[in-house]
Symmetry: C2
Subunit: 518 residues, 2 copies
């Protein structure tokens, strides 16, 4: 049967179970769009800006545990998606980007949209390739998928010239490849880690990646209770499983002074899919790392490993039986707060009212720092966060998570300043009828930056600086913004109003936005 390069690409994606494509196509991708028409099993989700597209693909992959495809328009479309690709890279999200380019023979004319696509792609991609012809599409796409699927998940960017899409494939057959297998830790490494745990020093297991899923946390929790080591999660993680019935775990704190204090008594840190904690930013005269200088770091299992296996093997090596005790969070319903709303009251309400098995997407920035304190005992949920510090991830991430998990409520905790970066995602919430309740933390400022101005020793904001840090004159009206994109919304100034609105949003399907004045 005849097929062109675009058909071959679609077939290759589908053969590897990649059946969702987040997209904002242009002229150079029209053959791919036309191919999508011939592949009804491929679900296409339009984002009205590429930051939405890449952030949604990230959210999808984090929840589906498989890559999504993105379809982007040349270097500028890719450029618009860079910030959330950066975040996805930091989350170790598997992703396959298809970036259209001019027909190969057209590049020499330097038409207006011509740009160095490979150059733009490289800083955020583990793998970049430009397909040479339609006959190379199947192999190139299969390579891209293989790279993306390798543990811990990587970003592969395939650049598809228009003529490679529209020309017929003369030779080639789509053959699904086996999924790459993760590494295993070595016997030497497990002995070293176990021996460290037994040496009597104050030890911490620092976890990330799959170690933060329910199964990994139970094993880590058993190790902790049996040996007295402490467990902690990395500051930024792609996905954590939390709430009632699960092992409680906190993260490395964001603020350098808090993190340093929290880690002050750690003599040795064993890394399980995590990196040694470092400060998010440097501050004049302050150290970049948090551990005391004499502490040792034991890189037991890096994130290319099967972390569940690494944890279980460590437990076995330590002689911990599979039925050793482990403390799980008990379900406790918090008492609903009252009065003037603030961040902690929002967290309390959400902790009390969120439905079973929700997906919480967190880009609340400074407003959500204490969210964990209020939600260890709430209904079990997955927690997805901003991983790379590039703001504008929340609303897109929620989009993708909701598409991956149509039967679960998605709760998006969204700071106002960051939310403005990719507010176009609200339209996709409406278009795809996604079951997302968005909570806007409307503090009308880049609150974090007021702190940071002081932290870096630059003082208190004056006229020009305040003009850069405060989102006032005019204040944003998120209910109107949501309405403009077809999403119903309402405002809350008190905890009672917020609880009523949140309960209402949880009692129905579909997108809803709450602008919470704090």
């Amino acid at each position: 049967m005849k097929m062109n390069g675009a058909d071959a690409l679609c077939d290759t994606l589908l053969a590897h179970e990649i059946d969702v494509c987040f997209a904002n196509p242009g002229t150079s991708e029209m053959h791919f769009v036309a191919a999508l028409d011939r592949k009804p099993e491929m679900r296409c989700v339009l984002g009205l800006f590429e930051g939405v597209v890449t952030g949604a693909a990230d959210g999808y992959a984090r929840m589906a545990d498989k890559p999504a495809a993105t379809l982007l328009h040349l270097g500028s479309g890719l450029g618009n998606g860079i910030a959330n690709l950066h975040n996805a890279r930091r989350a170790f999200t598997p992703m396959v980007n298809i970036v259209g380019d001019h027909a190969t023979y057209h590049l020499q004319y330097d038409a207006p949209l011509t740009s160095d696509i490979e150059g733009i792609a490289k800083p955020v991609s583990a793998w970049v390739r430009t397909t040479k012809s339609s006959d190379d599409v199947i192999n190139d796409a299969s390579d891209a998928i293989e790279v993306a699927s390798a543990k811990p998940g990587q970003i592969a960017t395939l650049i598809l010239p228009a003529d490679a899409a529209w020309n017929e494939v003369q030779n080639g057959k789509v053959t699904p490849r086996a999924k790459p297998k993760p590494q295993q830790v070595s016997e030497e490494a497990v002995r070293e880690a176990a021996s460290a745990i037994r040496n009597g020093k104050r030890t911490m297991l620092l976890l990330s990646g799959m170690a933060l899923r329910e199964e990994g946390l139970v094993i880590a929790g058993r190790i902790a209770e049996s040996t007295g080591v402490r467990i902690l999660a990395q500051q930024s993680n792609g996905r954590m499983q939390r709430g009632a019935g699960r092992v409680a775990i906190d993260r490395v704190k964001y603020r350098a002074e808090d993190a340093t204090a929290d880690l002050a008594d750690v003599d040795q840190m064993i890394l399980i899919g995590a990196k040694e904690p470092v400060a998010f930013f440097a501050y004049p005269g302050k150290p970049s790392t948090f551990l005391k200088p004499e502490a040792t770091v034991i890189p037991y299992a890096d994130n290319t490993c099967d972390l569940i296996h690494a944890l279980q093997w460590l437990a076995d090596e330590l002689g911990i039986p599979a039925n050793a005790p482990v403390t799980l969070n008990k379900r406790e319903k918090a008492i609903l707060p009252t009065g003037q709303l603030n961040s902690n009251k929002i967290a309390t309400v959400i902790g009390a009212l969120m439905p079973e098995n929700a997906v919480v997407v967190d880009e609340s920035i400074s407003s959500g720092r204490d969210f964990f304190n209020f939600t260890h005992s709430s209904a079990p949920h997955d927690f997805l966060q901003l991983t790379g510090g590039a703001i504008g991830i929340g609303l897109p991430l929620a989009t993708g998570a909701a598409i991956a998990c149509p039967d679960r409520k998605v709760v998006a905790l969204q700071a106002d300043g960051s939310g403005m970066y990719t507010l176009q995602a609200l339209w996709s919430h409406a278009r795809e009828e996604l079951d997302i309740v968005t909570v806007i933390f409307a503090n009308q400022r880049y609150a974090i930056l007021h702190h940071e101005l002081k932290n870096v020793g630059a003082g208190v904001a004056g006229r020009n600086a305040t003009h850069m840090l405060d989102l006032v004159n005019p204040t944003l009206d998120w209910v109107s913004l949501a309405k403009g994109m077809g999403v119903e919304g309402a405002r809350a100034s008190t905890a009672e109003e917020f609880a009523d609105l949140f309960a209402h949003a949880c009692s129905r399907k579909g997108p809803f936005l709450i602008e919470a004045f704090i």
Copy 2:
């Protein structure tokens, strides 16, 4: 007097008359923000997304004929600004980007926001440098400004590590440098061009850059009327001066078949700051260029040259006196249209009602293709357009133009799909009280892509493709979007309503948005 690197950078910008900074800073730029507080003469304009920041800097520089500075937050902030930097590069806009980075000693820790900033900057910058220390800031910033100011205007990106900003400058003094001088065409080139014009073949002068300002067009118009050559503007140009009292000029047409037909009888084309026209995209089986194969192209004056001088010298060489006749557009008020609104009626109303000396910013895409036909005889105005094909330029470009020209009305012609890319600019319209009337061409689709799907031979959109090309379910409500960002707006479905609203918007100062259903 003591100063840190951030102070030195501000002083260097101000010493070179760069006194507007479009910004969205983060922690790594806090010392620069603090320095801005000590420099009240630097005007800071906040954009709620970096695509707004870079597009506004472009619009400012196009109208002010000098660079604006931008302040961007690490690789992700720069990445968000890439698409409009691509457009600015294609417009040959002078621009100095300041991109903050981690402190030099912090980079080794690969903190979450660490990325290859130089790698992201290079595809859109003529010059990229990372400052090594506070003592290098003055020289590096002066180099950046010099590169940016060289004809025809270039993008210079200076990466400023946080410690280079916060450390004290031990050695260094700000000394303004002279502006780089443009090239001059050679005597040989002017003789060749004049001789070509005299050889009896059908000749076209293709103009861009400064040749499209009033002064250049008058000289070009005299040459055309005295010798019978035809003049035409490049398809995409940073800035054109048009309307009553000026020489009428059209642009190379967008659609390949229209452009080819229009250029069919050109035997030789003389380039004045322009490039030989090429198709925006390749289409299967169609040529990438428009001129007939036997036509000759004479690259008389490239855009590094003083184009006014090049035109005048050519006129002199041809013996055309300074008072030779030239036809200027006569002011004609169009009759206002009635009935159901469409793009051409919008153009007619704007042509009839726009105030003297307006700045028209055009990102109407397919809806504005015929705008010139209706506005040659309207009030004189400047015309700024999308130059690099990366959508999302219109609302930011209008922002910058309005800041550069506070006494002129800015009319933004904005397609709906493209407008959604950087709608955050509306907030800056409100915050800075900019005198901008935005006209949204609300056709609820990426209309151009429906044509392009056919053009590339991919057929008519089916279910999946339509889902990618139409902005329906839900439709956008631009009046609510504008309200959400503090901009007043209203809707028009008929030509009468549109004319009333446009006249109203022109009769007052400040931002106003008209959602025009077409």
